[in-house]
Symmetry: D2
Subunit: 333 residues, 4 copies
């Protein structure tokens, strides 16, 4: 049974069905009827006018967002363990033409205004030093921690007062919203977020993420950059249709709730083995090498997260029946 | 009835079915069982060891190929009307970090050794002038003309003697092979081609092209660059499965033959209105504005290709019944 | 006797003397008293507020200017034989992060509004096609032709109506002004020029050119980019002092007049051998290989400009006595 | 009296004299007789075949070196306070097309094999993570500490065993050699250094640094990149002549010894106020704000290095008479 990665899960049936419905002739690229609905549908969800682009990966979403918010000679403050710094092979530097990631610290890969100020306050003004242009936070973080609307707003305030723009890597934004049970607007533009990488693939999608601009004027140049990066797919209707299917009936939220619930079950079983509080669909566990081996021997697959730690990811399609055996195994260690 | 673009066609049923079969859990990125088969399956097709990467667009395939063949300070000889120069929004310059496209001439967007020499022979050696590193040709060309194996080999010979590498943009490679009825190997590595962008999307695919390296050593760095460009999809099995479905039973060739046959029907009807010989699935027609309007009034959709010319693209799914009305309408102009 | 390149000439004594005077301690980079005078001194010369940066090469001046005027995904219209296209090793692509040079035609490397429209009018709007952001013209051109203020203004008008910005590569701007005997303002900002690469090195300088922004707001980002490109010299006072020495008493204009006068002498001798009218310090001559050999046998050094043509460049330090022998030799061919 | 920056010092008379001698006509760019001598003269100095390029700034030297040693998708290990990371405005990212600087720790901005391993050992192999390609160390460091040949060799060994290449930022290489009284070869290629940015400007030069490749094959591509970055000066003889003047009679070493001696005097006076041992020409001092103000009131100029610290830089032209007043003032605090 797999708890290795939420990328390993299949796409959910509604997404597959949507692909079938979109498999008709229509205009190429993003000229089709599905792509045409994105702005309106996401504007409804976010209760404000947004501009939305489909892209096939979270890395593309993040990097196109950063390129819209940071000039080639600027810097982006992010956590040392942020996905854009740690796991994207230098893609941000590629897309931005060499902007510098300015690394901040904080437990659970979570930033605070104080942590950000520790990075930007010492930067002298002048042409010798890379000046910050933007801040990027991940919600839920790479360790599954969730920023509340108030926490985002505190960072948004700092960004505003320093003339910086704020990006949210929301590869697991759905899980954060599900955890908080708040309006998506509260967690984003009302808290000062300019651009959101809204992830769907880990949450039951197949190959489409949404890049959401709360400042719609930023979208025009990004549409050009999407083409220039080879990301304007010929049959974009298939990506748009996936996103729309996810919005229908709040499928994205139901899937995320399911995954979070599974993680909560594991957390309960794990007790004080937990490295971080469980607030989304990831569970970080203290286990000895021997304990990890025993779990694997029982057929559970997961990621070794450094020495003495394991990462268990729950997917949208794992219900209590799928989770229970692992919960029991953990409890029985 | 649409003859506007082969990108407007739906994906063919075998591809959709393959997506369904691939919709199970498997390792993320390209660690899955479908991606693992690509090298072997394409090596069979090409009768030599190749390394293959899936990518979601022809632009990504072309640009990753060029980046493997040309350093940032080098140049790539291509036709002035090549897709990489004329229709990719500067993506080659983005991926290669600013390599220069060196523009050659020739009717029908087709290059010859002579046309290439006209570009590269005058380039003085020295650091002031961008030196050519590679040649890129499109087969079939943007005007539907097909290079024969001998024509490719003549360019391949030139490339070899000048220390250049040869890329083939094969967005409609299938149509070229179908027209020539030759072995894919004859048209590529045996003729000196180093890297091929093998297109499937216009030919009944959904969102996967194959980047084929006949020098497999080039693939390792390209896999890194694919990730760095945000093109390493999380659930890559869906792309790999599409490509494999296309290879099964030579579906790619059957689809291309069907499209070519439709274009041949139109060509017959067009007679001396043809701007170029019809060798693949595109038909370029001389029509007055009035004639174009009359065709459109009958429900036919197509692309105005400059003043007095129309481009009609036939897709894999248009059989004789679908083509005949337009053929008759053209004959009746 | 050298007529090979105006880069081969020594620096003039006033420049050397200025270096000596600047050889005292002062603030590093561009914080010194000489650099501080540049804006005011060039503003006087151009009769408007300008912002000026010293840079060590014309290539750096051109490329920093283009980067200020054109985004990475935009295009710059220039002549096919413009220095930025033909002789700068792809530096514009490097500095701009891959902007595309859009090549126009015209005799003597000179552009007209018509020639520029022939390039930009066919560009469809949309994300697939690189849109023009700027125009770059060279005055005097690579063939020594001079744009009049009216000719520049016609291009400036076109630029303005199309939302493009206008760069002038003035590696030999001094020679153009000397030829026209006009105010520098007439030839630049009053005619619609946004940024000027004002060359001094070929005109008796040692290692400093001036990048002049007629829109001073463009300078701030360019100062950052200058540093980022390694062009912010530690002891910038030596560059600033050279430029100021050139402005003192219009040394730049006297030097250019001297060089132009020499070229005029050669032109007289050349008669109908001239390939282009001689309007600055370059003379392009029709000579057979045998004639060229005879000139060389007499000790004259020059550049073979393709088959049957020779380029003779006159420098600021070549007076009539230095020119006369070559003029006689040409007349005697 | 200035102790603010060694960049503030004038150029030494021998350099100025050399400029005068080079002020004759000669071939442009680096085709002149002075540039032609560089390889041989530096090969003598380093007792091995080297290839040498002049460049006008340390930033250009560092960045061209890194670009020769690290691909765009690779990483360069350096100290968090290295000049390339902290003071070059993102120039390394610009020149390398976005390579990532991988930041290591260590007192006095000095790296050890252990500190480097702490950065590179945790990097997993695979396309998701930027792999190290090179290491860059600064000798003397930004805090004036000197790596001994053995210390460099230990890092060189690590580099070799990991397949990395080693760059030395030698903005104050002369001061390091003067301190160690060792052969330049010992401190560089014999210890595993591939490329050295050999600084002369802070040491009495005007506007020329030497980029030294101990693997001469790396120079050819770098010559192209130098042009492409706008750093191939038209009258390169003036840069080459400066470098040659510096080598004549070991002027570089005499200047460095003079500056080091001045710093040693200050160090003696500073006693336990020293933040770091003084091994070159920089002195880092603990001073209160009040003490700093008192020094300034006596006419001494220096750099505030964070709260409670001052940086005093001694230049090549400051003899004991110039230093003594500050030494006395420090002693008298």
């Amino acid at each position: 049974m797999r708890f290795f990665s939420d990328n390993a899960a299949p796409a959910c049936p509604e997404v597959i069905a949507a692909l079938g419905r979109a498999n008709v002739q229509d205009a190429a690229y993003d000229g089709d009827q599905w792509s045409a609905q994105l702005d309106a549908r996401f504007s409804d969800l976010f209760e404000t006018d947004v501009a939305v682009l489909w892209v096939p990966t979270g890395t593309a979403a993040n990097c196109l967002a950063l390129t819209a918010l940071c000039l080639p000679y600027g810097g982006v403050v992010c956590h040392r363990e942020a996905h854009i710094q740690a796991d994207e092979a230098g893609a941000p530097e590629f897309f931005t033409h060499g902007a510098k990631l300015l690394l901040a610290e904080g437990p659970g890969a979570k930033l605070t205004p104080q942590a950000i100020r520790a990075v930007i306050d010492p930067i002298k003004s002048g042409v010798h030093w890379v000046q910050p242009h933007a801040i990027s936070i991940t919600n839920a973080t790479e360790y599954g921690l969730v920023y509340t609307p108030a926490e985002v707003a505190a960072i948004g305030d700092l960004a505003r007062t320093r003339g910086l723009r704020l990006h949210m890597d929301g590869a697991r934004f759905a899980n954060a919203v599900a955890h908080l049970d708040c309006a998506p607007a509260e967690l984003t533009w009302r808290a000062g977020v300019t651009a959101l990488s809204f992830g769907f693939i880990k949450n039951g999608g197949m190959g489409a993420e949404a890049l959401v601009f709360f400042d719609p004027d930023l979208a025009a140049a990004t549409r050009i950059r999407r083409k220039r990066a080879g990301h304007l797919q010929s049959k974009g209707r298939f990506l748009a249709a996936q996103l729309l299917a996810m919005l229908d009936g709040d499928l994205w939220l139901r899937n995320a709730r399911a995954a979070n619930a599974g993680a909560a079950l594991l957390a309960q079983a794990a007790g004080n083995r937990l490295v971080h509080p469980v607030q989304s669909n990831g569970v970080f566990l203290r286990v000895t090498a021997d304990e990890a081996a025993r779990l694997r021997a029982q057929g559970f697959d997961f990621y070794d997260w450094g020495p003495g730690e394991a990462r268990l990811m729950v997917s949208w399609d794992q219900d209590e029946a799928a989770i229970r055996p692992l919960a029991d195994a953990i409890a029985g260690l």
